[in-house]
């Protein structure tokens, strides 16, 4: 009989109690009260039960000692009644709570069969007690087979479902848990009914009674195959990334947002012989180590740039020498980039060092080769120049010697021929003068020291030359046009040489036009600025033009009847020694245009190329990446 409602139970209890009390009153027999006491104890708790016991005892006393029926054994009966009622009270007190607990949990305790997923239940000694239907169908055994497993007196009942490689480990853990009562938590491959294994996590806890004794093991087995696969894939990717980082032929290092190195890749470790270094092993130590690796000459500058970069959060690219494991310093190209989170805060710095020693070396070798080549070229042009000087000097000298011989012979003739001798003496003087002029020109050519370079106004030079050649222009019927830029800045140059160049070009122009009709002979001289740093002078004639625009600058090349082919070669060497350029063009519609340009220099600075042989860190600053590349 089940009375699920409290009211029904109470009503029934009161009815029974009332029936007992009534029977006791009618029969004058107190034992009927005991049922009422019991009902009160059960239904109303032990305090009210105690009151009921006391009331029943008093009532029993009244009945037993009722004068009409008082018996001699009444005291003994009362004592028995009191003892019995107290016994009932005590009994209910002790068992009432347990029964209640059992009643509450009886309906609520879930069945192992209802556990979602795969579940099982084992006896405290590890033997199988139950496997839920989901688990049964997963491993593919029938209930009959399960019963057979249950009958096995063995803790290793699960072995046949576990991957052979995992069985040993699982058994050890299982036995350990049974001995200590610790929960089971392990991962193992479980065989599915089709024979494939999947990864499962097995968790089981001991179920204990109120006294703490293990009454069984409840286990839950969860499929973690996908998780496991994802984990494995993640591991694989991580491994590959690490492999990549370690294999990439660069030295890779990581730094904290403050710029303290905390990781070096394997190559870096192998290259520099540093400790792999992780976050745990003293960050300051790692930085000190890194700074020590930098060549002492580059260290201060490089660290300053690093600190500047870390402070400003800007990427950095610079070159310096870093010490390798073998204690040799090698040039490296070091790049550092910050990694930022979505809020723009720097999380860490990535550093990549590329060994550019070979590159730097080959550049150096190239530069040296270049230098040797230009030296050789200078030597070659010097020897060429000496040949032409010899030629230029030999001509007048030869004339002097020959004329002097003739002079002497006419004088020593019998009779002396003074008329002839006098005429030849004139020639000797003329030739000696020519030799002196050649010497003067050579001296001018070789005194190209910067000491003679002053601020020169090329417009003034052009004007002077035009004045000097005015006679020749007039006698050659050449019309002169000038278009000089009044804002042409002065530049540092050798005034005499500039005059020499302009003079040569003007004379060439005049001579080139001797073959054309006198009416069209016009020479045009233009000066202008080219950009901010160059000025240009153009001398254009209306002659027949040039057949070879480069060869005319070769020594000994001439198109003139009496030229030696030195003028333009010398002009070019003068302009080039001033850092400029001299070239020729043919003009559409006839004529040649010779142009030269010169750098605009107000001071000596900049006269020399800023070319240091090895290039210090400081000069590398120019290669710093702009913040925009971040």
């Amino acid at each position: 009989m089940k009375l699920p409602f409290l009211m029904q139970r109470r009503t029934l209890a009161i009815a029974i109690a009332a029936a007992g009390a009534l029977m006791a009153g009618i029969c004058l027999e107190p034992s009927g009260l005991l049922i009422a006491v019991t009902a009160a104890c059960i239904c109303c708790g032990w305090k009210k039960g105690l009151v009921a016991v006391a009331a029943a005892d008093l009532l029993a006393g009244a009945i037993l000692f009722w004068p009409a029926s008082a018996a001699a054994e009444a005291p003994v009966n009362l004592a028995t009644f009191v003892a019995t009622s107290a016994g009932i009270w005590l009994l209910v007190l002790v068992f009432r709570s347990v029964r209640f607990y059992d009643r509450v949990y009886e309906g609520m305790r879930p069945s192992v069969a209802d556990i979602p997923g795969l579940g099982w239940f084992a006896y405290p000694d590890g033997r199988l007690r139950f496997i839920n239907p989901a688990a049964l169908s997963f491993v593919g055994i029938s209930a009959e087979e399960m019963r057979h497993l249950m009958d096995l007196d063995d803790v290793s009942w699960f072995a046949k479902f576990i991957h052979p490689d995992d069985v040993e480990r699982c058994l050890v853990n299982w036995r350990h848990s049974m001995k200590t009562g610790e929960p089971v938590n392990e991962e193992a491959r479980v065989r599915r009914h089709d024979g494939t294994y999947r990864w499962f996590r097995d968790t089981a806890i001991a179920s204990r009674d109120e006294r703490g004794r293990i009454i069984g093991w409840y286990g839950h087995t969860q499929d973690i195959e996908d998780q496991k696969k994802a984990e494995a894939a993640l591991h694989e990717r991580e491994r590959e990334l690490r492999l990549l980082v370690d294999t990439v032929p660069s030295l890779i290092w990581l730094m904290t947002p403050e710029g303290l190195p905390y990781y070096f890749n394997k190559r870096f470790v192998d290259w520099a012989g540093v400790e792999p270094g992780d976050a745990a092993s003293g960050i300051g130590q790692a930085l000190a180590t890194y700074a020590e690796l930098i060549h002492p000459d580059d260290r201060a500058d490089a660290l300053a740039l690093f600190h500047q970069s870390f402070a400003g959060g800007e990427p950095l690219s610079l070159k310096y020498r870093l010490r390798g494991k073998d204690s040799w310093y090698r040039w490296i190209d070091s790049r550092v980039e910050p990694l930022r989170d979505e809020t723009g805060t720097i999380i860490r710095w990535y550093g990549v060092n590329l060994d550019v020693e070979d590159e730097v070396r080959s550049q150096e070798a190239l530069r040296l080769a270049d230098e040797r080549l230009s030296r050789a070229l200078r030597a070659a042009s010097l020897s060429e120049l000496s040949v032409s000087i010899a030629h230029e000097l030999n001509q007048p000298l030869q004339a002097v010697v020959a004329n002097a011989g003739a002079f002497r012979r006419w004088l020593s003739a019998d009779p002396p021929n003074f008329e002839h001798a006098g005429r030849i003496a004139e020639k000797i003087i003329r030739d000696a003068d020519a030799a002196a002029q050649v010497l003067g020109r050579i001296r001018a050519l070789f005194t190209q020291t910067t000491d003679h370079r002053n601020l020169v106004d090329l417009n003034a030079v052009i004007t002077e030359v035009c004045e000097l050649t005015a006679d020749k222009l007039q006698s050659s019927n050449v019309r002169l046009e000038t278009d000089l830029d009044p804002s042409l800045p002065a530049t540092r140059a050798d005034h005499v040489q500039m005059e020499q160049v302009v003079f040569n070009l003007v004379r060439n122009g005049i001579e080139a036009m001797q073959v054309v009709d006198a009416g069209s002979r016009a020479l045009r001289i233009v000066s202008r600025c080219r950009g901010d740093d160059r000025l240009e002078v153009e001398i254009r004639d209306h002659g027949p033009g040039l057949s070879d625009l480069e060869k005319i600058f070769d020594a000994f090349y001439t198109t003139k009847q009496d030229g030696m082919g030195m003028g333009l070669a010398i002009c070019r060497s003068i302009i080039e020694s001033h850092g400029g350029r001299l070239w020729a063009d043919n003009v559409d519609g006839g004529g040649a245009s010779i142009k030269f340009n010169l750098p605009i220099r107000a001071t000596e600075a900049g006269a020399e190329d800023m070319k240091s042989p090895t290039g210090s860190v400081r000069s590398r600053e120019a290669v710093r990446a702009s913040p925009g590349t971040a």
Partner: protein, 216 residues
């Protein structure tokens, strides 16, 4: 041909080629002072275009000249069969160039500035060589003309005689009698205008190589 003209024709003439007018002029003056006539050219081309007088003399060439160089001119002349002696003048001593020039038959290779006496010596030597060359050429021309008058048989005998062959042997070789050989031989000696074997040999030597080597 008048006596005066004939004397001028025999007087040596130096031909100067130099691009520098003052040098040309001065060298001409120097030669003039020792009585050597000279004509000057400003370039090799000018010389090639001119008609050269048939007089003993020499060429004085500057090596380095704009346009055709002295060495180029020497080559050009040699290829057109003109074998006039050449004196080279150069601004700088270029050994390779001078070796080449001398191999090609230059008389001298002088470095500017050359001493007046050295120059005159070189020119004189060149002129002397040219006179000798011209004389040899005259003799050769004369004997070639005489050789042309010989009959084929006489030419055969001439070859045999200068080779030192005895008359008897010549007769045997040519399958004629010794008497006939003697007749051809005396006729040949007469035609060649020589009186002795020695004279005949020198006349033979002056003949051009193609005649001497040519088949009989």
């Amino acid at each position: 041909m008048s006596v005066a003209e004939s004397r001028t024709a025999e007087r040596p003439l130096a031909m100067l080629v130099d691009d520098d007018a003052s040098v040309r002029d001065a060298l001409a003056e120097l030669l003039n002072s020792v009585g050597i006539d000279s004509i000057t050219f400003a370039s090799a081309h000018e010389l090639l275009e001119a008609t050269l007088p048939d007089r003993p003399g020499c060429l004085v060439l500057d090596v380095r000249m704009p346009g055709l160089s002295g060495i180029d001119l020497q080559r050009r002349l040699a290829s057109s069969g003109i074998s006039i002696p050449i004196v080279f003048l150069t601004g700088h001593g270029d050994i390779a160039m001078s070796v080449q020039a001398m191999k090609s038959g230059a008389v001298d290779f002088l470095t500017k500035p050359v001493r007046d006496q050295s120059f005159l010596d070189a020119v004189s030597a060149a002129i002397a060589a040219d006179i000798a060359r011209r004389a040899a050429a005259t003799v050769s021309r004369k004997y070639v003309a005489l050789y042309e008058t010989l009959t084929p048989r006489e030419r055969q005998v001439l070859r045999a005689v200068v080779a030192g062959t005895q008359n008897k042997q010549i007769g045997f070789d040519l399958e004629i009698t010794e008497v006939t050989v003697k007749l051809h031989r005396s006729s040949m000696m007469k035609k060649m205008q020589v009186g002795s074997i020695t004279h005949l040999l020198s006349a033979w030597q002056s003949l051009p190589a193609d005649i001497r080597m040519g088949d009989s």
